[in-house]
């Protein structure tokens, strides 16, 4: 561990990305994510990397996709309006299998909304924001230190699975400052850029899936002369109109993530041993929820908490099992109710699932969550 520092969530996220090998940032200024761009502008050239401020949000993701294809680990950062604008090229990254990390420091919407009050209302957009079918990995940290760790995970997953990965920060965690001790470089595990498994003479095809269902398209400029397109393509990388190739492509894109779902589902359990009620929360809201759960425990209430880091893919088995362990599940989130519907689906009637939405531009207070815990406890006791 290094010396303790006072750091902001956005700063820790940017520093984690650089520690994971990110050497290219492109983006457009938008509150509350701008500190990430500012950090990159100062620090990327120090390590031989490149920062560029683009003309708009779409260019911000286009430029990082180009850099990634040319061999650089790449990241862009934005907030709600910019996240909406970036969706088409997030889909491009999914089908062309280009490693990229998109940070969305969530703020209140829709549209310009209530700038720049906190929200967690892009949960479903992170999963379903683009047109077409593809899986998504989205991670949401709840502390400044974890913003560093999540950035490393996101970069590693993007490279390993050659897929876009979204970091769902919220304004609370992004702008909060905490004392952190960061790991030293040698303590950090980095997934390297994948390289071709064969030479051209050996019959290399850039989009042949390996055993993990992920292909190894060569970086531009390395002599392989590959073709990359957003059209459905076969193993050669060239467009194919075949229904069977189309079906196989969509299936493989999903399956390469589905088969590692358990491995990449990260969460914490607190006070769950004898819990009859569980609070499920993530990001900034999880911090308030923790305080509420701790207070309820002190008062003798059998309540526990699941803190979710991996928002997508959804933690199906975690929630399915949780519903068998407790009588009631409370889902506080800074939106009109989004994640709760997935919890309800997984619970399948095994436990009572209650939504606690908040959408007035303010963060939860521990009392609000505490009161909802009491109400749910009374309800399931009947």
């Amino acid at each position: 561990m290094s010396e303790a520092r006072l750091m902001q969530g956005n700063e820790a996220c940017a520093e984690g990305a650089v520690a994971a090998g990110v050497r290219f940032f492109g983006g457009y200024p938008i509150t509350p994510s701008t500190e990430i761009a500012e950090y990159m502008a100062v620090n990327l050239p120090k390590v031989g990397g490149t920062f560029i401020q683009m003309e708009d949000e779409i260019a911000g993701i286009g430029v990082v996709l180009g850099a990634s294809l040319a061999g650089k680990k790449a990241l862009t950062a934005t907030s709600g309006p910019g996240f909406s604008l970036k969706q088409e090229l997030i889909g491009y990254a999914a089908i062309a299998e280009i490693p990229v990390v998109i940070v969305n420091v969530q703020r209140m919407g829709p549209s310009t909304g209530q700038p720049t009050s906190p929200a967690q209302a892009d949960i479903m957009q992170a999963r379903w924001g683009t047109h077409g079918d593809h899986p998504m990995i989205a991670l949401s940290p709840w502390t400044v230190r974890e913003s560093f760790d999540v950035a490393i995970k996101a970069v590693n997953y993007a490279e390993r699975f050659r897929t876009p990965v979204i970091i769902l920060l919220d304004e609370v965690v992004g702008h909060m400052r905490e004392r952190v001790e960061l790991p030293q470089a040698h303590e950090i595990e980095i997934y390297p850029r994948r390289v071709p498994d064969k030479t051209k003479a050996q019959g290399y095809k850039p989009y042949t899936p390996m055993e993990d269902l992920v292909p190894n398209p060569a970086d531009f400029g390395t002599g392989y002369r590959i073709h990359c397109t957003g059209l459905v393509h076969d193993e050669t990388g060239f467009p194919s109109g075949s229904p069977s190739i189309t079906e196989q492509t969509i299936e493989r894109l999903h399956e390469k993530i589905a088969r590692v779902q358990e491995e990449i589902t990260h969460y914490d359990e607190f006070f769950m041993d004898d819990a009859e009620i569980a609070v499920v929360a993530f990001g900034g809201t999880a911090r308030t929820a923790y305080a509420a759960v701790e207070a309820a425990r002190s008062a003798g209430r059998k309540v526990g908490m699941i803190r979710i880091m991996t928002i997508w893919p959804f933690a199906d088995s975690v929630m399915r099992n949780l519903a068998k362990r407790v009588k009631g599940i409370l889902v506080p989130e800074m939106n009109y109710g989004q994640y709760v519907y997935e919890v309800e689906r997984a619970a399948a009637g095994q436990a009572k699932v209650v939504s606690l939405p908040k959408y007035n531009s303010e963060v939860f207070t521990p009392d609000e969550i505490g009161q909802a815990i009491e109400e749910l406890a009374a309800e399931v006791a009947e």
């Binding site: 050239p45 002599g223 467009p239």
Partner: protein, 272 residues
């Protein structure tokens, strides 16, 4: 001089373009320019957007990238900055470059990043069946302008000049031989180079506007585009309906990727 045919992925041919289309002529001129300059085939990247012209990238034997509609320039910018030793050439169309990609176009020119942008201008959205583009002249018919266009088209070379491009040229599919040199000079310019090439679209543009066969459209081009020196001698009235061709503008300005390399050195990152 290298055989330009070896620069094509012949197994991807024949191309998808309609009979009489001018895109093949423009693509061949690019291949000949690359052959003439003897660019390293493994260090040259061709980037395109979406549309008829943008299908050209798939036929050429380099690292090639067929991006989303309008977005070729941001991708190309990322490639060039991530690996400045690569030659990055962009193929785009009038809708791709001047409508949906217009913002990227002016900003890439402003940065003077070392990209060579070839606009295959057929004055129409061809892939989608003949809708008006920002380069469709006034009083022409399109499926979305059934009574004739009345909004002013851009002059893309003038836009490029105002935005800061350091090499600007205009060629045509008729003047195929000089087009090779116009493109080659653009590739050699260390900065943002823009070559507008007028190409005929007999199927989705010419037919609707009674412009005759592909050959007739090419003949029109031969009369419309005249050398810059000759154009400059014309009176304003005589210039009506004419366009200057050849190299229209050059300038000297620091190139973006080279300037960023200096930033890296200043920050100490050249030793990282």
């Amino acid at each position: 001089m290298k055989d330009y045919e070896s620069l094509f992925r012949t197994n991807r041919l024949p191309h998808i373009w309609c009979p009489g289309c001018g895109h093949g002529i423009a693509m061949k001129a690019l291949a000949k320019a690359i052959a003439k300059l003897d660019l390293d085939q493994d260090k040259t990247v061709i980037v395109s957007g979406i549309g008829c012209s943008s299908r050209a990238s798939g036929y050429m034997d380099f690292d090639t990238l067929h991006t989303a509609h309008g977005r070729a320039l941001p991708f190309a910018t990322g490639i060039k900055l991530a690996n400045p030793e690569l030659n990055v050439i962009v193929i785009t169309g009038d809708g791709d470059c001047m409508a949906i990609g217009g913002n990227h176009f002016i900003h890439a020119a402003r940065r003077n990043i070392d990209l060579t942008v070839l606009l295959f201008n057929n004055n129409i959205y061809g892939m989608t069946g003949g809708q008006a583009s920002p380069l469709t002249p006034v009083d022409k018919k399109a499926t979305t302008a059934p009574y004739g266009t009345f909004d002013r088209p851009f002059n893309p070379c003038e836009v490029a000049k105002t935005a800061g491009a350091t090499y600007i040229a205009r060629g045509t599919a008729f003047h195929a031989a000089p087009l090779v040199d116009l493109i080659a000079q653009g590739i050699q310019n260390k900065g943002f180079s823009f070559v507008e090439t007028l190409v005929q679209c007999p199927t989705s543009y010419g037919r609707r506007n009674k412009m005759g066969s592909a050959a007739a459209m090419l003949k029109d081009m031969s009369e419309t585009v005249i050398p810059l020196a000759a154009y400059n001698k014309l009176s304003p009235e005589e210039r009506n309906g004419k366009l200057p061709g050849g190299v229209l503008h050059t300038d000297i300005f620091p190139e973006y990727a080279a300037e960023y390399a200096k930033i890296i050195t200043r920050a100490g990152g050249d030793k990282a």
